[in-house]
């Protein structure tokens, strides 16, 4: 069993370029990783003896809403710039330790590597993050919308500046 700080140190040694920083927040320390290196880092975390992260507990897309906000006349908000993030919660059943990784991608060009080939359960989680936040996972075998209809063209609903359409297929959406 290793603490999160020890895991960060191992990662930093292995990937000095791609493992960016360690935020020691008391409720949940987070390791930030380069979005285009996340696949390599995760593979290392799973395969290395002494780490052996065999399960991905959760993968969440988050809109950080840290860009430039402009208020529109109809009361809604538009956000430009800033980042979209993905959080990975990993756990090792064998050694019983956990770690939280984060990748941050620019809002205008949100691309991260897929970890589907490492943990199969990432498949649907990543599709959901794509569906809800709009993060594109490179090398994902089947990146389609999962919860929203396939022909939904009004954007990504969990973005903070999402605007609901008035109609969908002739049905009124707002109350």
């Amino acid at each position: 069993m290793k603490t999160r700080e020890e895991i960060f140190n191992i990662l930093k040694q292995e990937f000095p370029q791609d493992v960016l920083e360690f935020q020691n927040i008391p409720t949940e320390p987070i390791i930030t990783v380069n979005p285009l290196a996340i696949h390599r880092v995760c593979l290392f975390l799973r395969e290395t003896a002494g780490l052996e992260f065999d399960t991905l507990m959760c993968l969440s897309g988050v809109d950080d809403a840290n860009g430039e906000k402009t208020n529109d006349p109809d009361g809604s908000v538009t956000i430009k710039g800033g980042t979209l993030s993905v959080y990975y919660h990993l756990h090792s059943m064998k050694l019983d330790h956990k770690v939280t990784l984060r990748v941050s991608t620019p809002r205008e060009d949100p691309e991260a590597e897929s970890v589907e080939s490492i943990w199969k359960c990432a498949d649907w989680h990543e599709r959901e993050a794509y569906d809800m936040i709009g993060i594109i996972f490179l090398h994902h075998p089947d990146l389609r919308r999962i919860l929203m209809p396939y022909d939904w063209d009004a954007g990504y609903p969990l973005r903070k500046d999402y605007k609901n359409p008035e109609f969908y297929q002739g049905m009124k959406v707002p109350y």
Binding site: L147, M148, P149, P157, Q169, M171, V173, P174, Y175
Partner: protein, 164 residues
């Protein structure tokens, strides 16, 4: 008003009824339901047809195919993705057909009315509803009451002129 069918005849064997009443009575006593659940309310609908509440005694038997069904109970939240499918199911049912909207979600969006970007705010935006049963979820007794209300409606229907 009591129909002729409800009157008692002491010499047995004779039943006098208007054809309309007889037909309506037959129809309302065997309202076959489309076996189809959506969300939380579907569990209460299942509980209604299971041991304690016994939906069968009102002649409500779940049928898997819409072509054999008389009523459809919209039991739960209708999403935009599902609404078109429900409309299709409704269109596949033979006339006369009835709809019970069960629970707040299918009545008006329920707890999802404000921020539900993917929730249809009331099934009556897509198909016509006969009986609304309020509750989140309604108790089985409430659903039974809704069915009795529907039976009342069927009882008063006319074959010749459409009553509403």
């Amino acid at each position: 008003m009591k129909s002729l069918l409800d009157q008692e005849f002491t010499d047995g064997n004779i039943v006098i009824a208007k054809t309309e009443d007889l037909l309506n009575w037959a129809r309302l006593s065997s309202l076959w339901q489309l076996g189809f659940g959506l969300a939380c309310c579907a569990i209460e609908m299942m509980a209604t047809s299971a041991s304690h509440y016994d939906f069968d005694r009102f002649g409500v038997i779940p049928r898997p195919s819409p072509r054999q069904a008389d009523i459809i109970i919209i039991s739960g939240t209708v999403t935009l993705k599902m609404a078109t499918r429900i409309k299709r199911l409704f269109e596949q049912m033979p006339e006369p057909k009835y709809i019970i909207s069960m629970g707040s979600c299918s009545n008006c969006g329920g707890p999802y009315w404000q921020h539900g970007y993917h929730v249809l705010k009331g099934i009556d935006r897509v198909i016509p509803v006969d009986v609304y049963v309020p509750g989140c979820p309604p108790r089985p007794e409430a659903l039974l009451e809704g069915l009795l209300k529907l039976q009342e409606k069927v009882r008063n229907e006319s074959l010749v002129k459409k009553t509403l």
